[in-house]
Subunit: 418 residues, 2 copies
């Protein structure tokens, strides 16, 4: 059997009690979810992806599975396995969907398909509905036919301008699904027939340790404990050390801000993954700068900085940065706005759709523009507060977990009715 | 230059203000530290080890360096670099000091010494005092001679019965230091001449995010958010997935407890390291069990579980386990006791010295004994509370950070006076 991911399943868990979300999202949405779940009671739902930890998809599934179970939907989460070679291929496919170069040789195609076939064979395929995430397991549906279940492919990647060769390879596997989900219309390849395509954006969980309320004084203690000076402005970017998140551009912007505001500090928090040599190289080059700059701080999960510390930092700093050059959705933007923080971010992927109306000038490209907007927010604290408030309201209405659960349940109901 | 570790250096940081420790450890100790530091003002101190994150040594250095700097001691922390081959060798040396098998071929010896020589050459050696941690960089002192600085070797490993071949190889390099530090007398190889040997145990920082006070309701929310049932007993082990920490033995003990107390839950929290394939294998086998057992929970730093979550779990569970078969000091035992938690632990390394008097029966070997003591504590909550209180007092007196800083400053003063 495909390895299954163990996730919390006790219904007493705060975040699995849907009633706890009512104060945030209102009764109407929760009532709709309960009604939908009532009709789907006992449904056997299987979520399939490639990783149990690290990245937005795993984070979302870890929050959603317990909610489904609390709603009496029999939800499992299964991982396809793969060796290094397979994941090198699927990383290539991922980048190619974003427009990167990748050449599918016949041996690469064979390897990818063989792994998907094996994954399908190892999957105990007795579910009513499958939700298959991203390109790694996209072909398992093909090998499952005939199968009485319904199949949804969920693509989290900005595939608006995919590499043509890779897209031609993947497209037949993808088009055979009963439904295809993209984060937003712009992410969908233009030549995909749209009958089965729906758009659902991800969401954050306001009750998770990453987002739950923390007292102000605790946030200040966490930040001070890390050696950061609370009496001077603090900028923060939370993201992997990935060239597309442009950490070096962030440092450049910070250095420009520093010319005007000598006391300013920059905190970079990143999660390191074992299989990401590029991330380690970037971390090393950032660390080399941090040693000579006492106002530049770098923290990682390897030093014990986890979700609660991230939460405390997001709440306690002055301005948040997410200078992505490319982005899927960029959950961290909603995390920051939910905490009423002003943010300066790259106009990439799903970031603009998270911004509250009237604050689009804080969507930037380039370090100079980023620095200029950061200075503006530091110099206009009242406006920064307004921005944060508008951001929280935007996230409250559109990007909290119950809305995502509702959208997925609606979609499941739709594909079952076909 | 050897890579330097960037650590917080603002004196406003809570934990670098020694006054904040007075309520915990009393005035006498803090006054002594201030007086010692006064005499050492401007001292150039270099701490050298092999890793900036992961493991007790890095954790200690990250806490101590800012305190030294706040005391006007010019402390740096430098890392020796090394490739995979070098660290495979030093892992062998480490295990061999604990008694494991390892054969030092002439090429291994040459490789080890060549790396130490390179490290020394890359070290800007203009410090007054060097504290060199563990075997990885132990020979750099040899290549530094003549050097006007004083050199201390700090061994964190239980070297009471070292592999003879490895010890004969390392011993001349080690004996040439001005002082040698072991955690406790029992850790010192019997044939080492004792003139320069001192014993200093590690310590925990009560002000760090790992140990700071957290409100009860927040701890309960963190645990519930992870899906764990607060209405049934919860057992917890926090440690790497390392055979010496015996996670499979912990699961065995938990299964025995479960025969008597069907509702009992076990939470395992472990930090994963990139270079630890064994850890990943153990995690996989634990996860396979967790999938079929809804009361067995496994969390890692890769899922965003960091120091604050660990803190909350340690405070919110019923009994803590640290079933080590071998151990250096085992800081996690002091962490648990500081939080007034009863603990059942292996009688290994530095664990027994952390136990409060009268509770030695909770030092166990074997899963059966572990299970029996766990049941006893679950069945005798009043005694469990007493145990926790006695534990906190023991830790308060002996294992908080200021005591360690005092001991190291005393030692530095002593070697400088030679």
């Amino acid at each position: 059997m495909l390895p299954q991911v163990a996730v919390g399943r006790h219904c007493c868990a705060q975040s699995t009690n849907l009633a706890n979300y009512r104060p945030f999202v209102g009764d109407e949405l929760i009532d709709e979810i309960v009604a939908l779940a009532d009709q789907l009671k006992g449904l056997r739902l299987c979520q399939v992806n490639a990783t149990a930890a690290g990245g937005g998809v795993a984070e979302l599934l870890a929050r959603m599975i317990p909610i489904y179970r609390a709603l009496d939907i029999d939800a499992d989460w299964r991982l396809i396995f793969g060796d290094k070679e397979f994941f090198t291929i699927t990383k290539g496919l991922h980048n190619a969907l974003q427009g990167g170069d990748f050449h599918i040789t016949s041996s690469i195609a064979a390897e990818y398909l063989a792994h998907n076939r094996q994954a399908l064979e190892a999957l105990d395929a007795h579910y009513d509905v499958f939700v298959v995430h991203d390109p790694q397991p996209a072909a398992i549906h093909h090998f499952a036919q005939p199968n009485p279940g319904k199949w949804i492919w969920r693509c989290h990647i900005d595939s608006s301008q995919p590499n043509a060769e890779v897209w031609q390879f993947l497209r037949p596997y993808v088009e055979a699904y009963d439904a295809i989900v993209f984060t937003m219309p712009q992410f969908c390849p233009t030549d995909l027939k749209r009958d089965n395509v729906v758009f659902i954006s991800p969401a954050i969980d306001p009750l998770s340790t990453k987002n739950m309320e923390l007292p102000d004084d605790m946030c200040r203690r966490v930040i001070a404990d890390a050696g950061v000076n609370l009496r001077e402005p603090i900028l923060l970017q939370v993201s992997r050390f990935d060239p597309w998140k442009d950490p070096l551009g962030v440092i450049k912007a910070y250095n420009l801000v520093k010319q005007q505001r000598p006391g300013v500090q920059l905190v970079l928090i990143g999660a390191m993954a074992a299989d990401d040599p590029e991330g380690w190289q970037i971390l090393e080059s950032i660390n080399a700068q941090a040693v000579t700059d006492p106002d530049l701080y770098v923290f990682t999960n390897l030093m014990g900085v986890g979700n609660m510390e991230v939460n405390a930092f997001q709440r306690g700093v002055d301005v948040i940065i997410q200078k992505s050059l490319r982005e899927g959705f960029g959950l961290v933007v909603s995390e920051a706005l939910w905490k009423e923080k002003p943010i300066v971010a790259g106009a990439a992927g799903g970031i603009p759709m998270q911004f509250p109306e009237g604050y689009e000038q804080f969507l930037v490209s380039g370090a100079e523009q980023c620095a200029e907007r950061l200075l503006y927010l530091l110099d206009h604290p009242d406006e920064a507060v307004q921005f944060g408030r508008a951001g929280r309201e935007k996230v409250r209405r559109e990007f909290l977990l119950p809305r995502l659960v509702r959208d997925e349940l609606r979609l499941i109901q739709k594909v079952l009715a076909k």
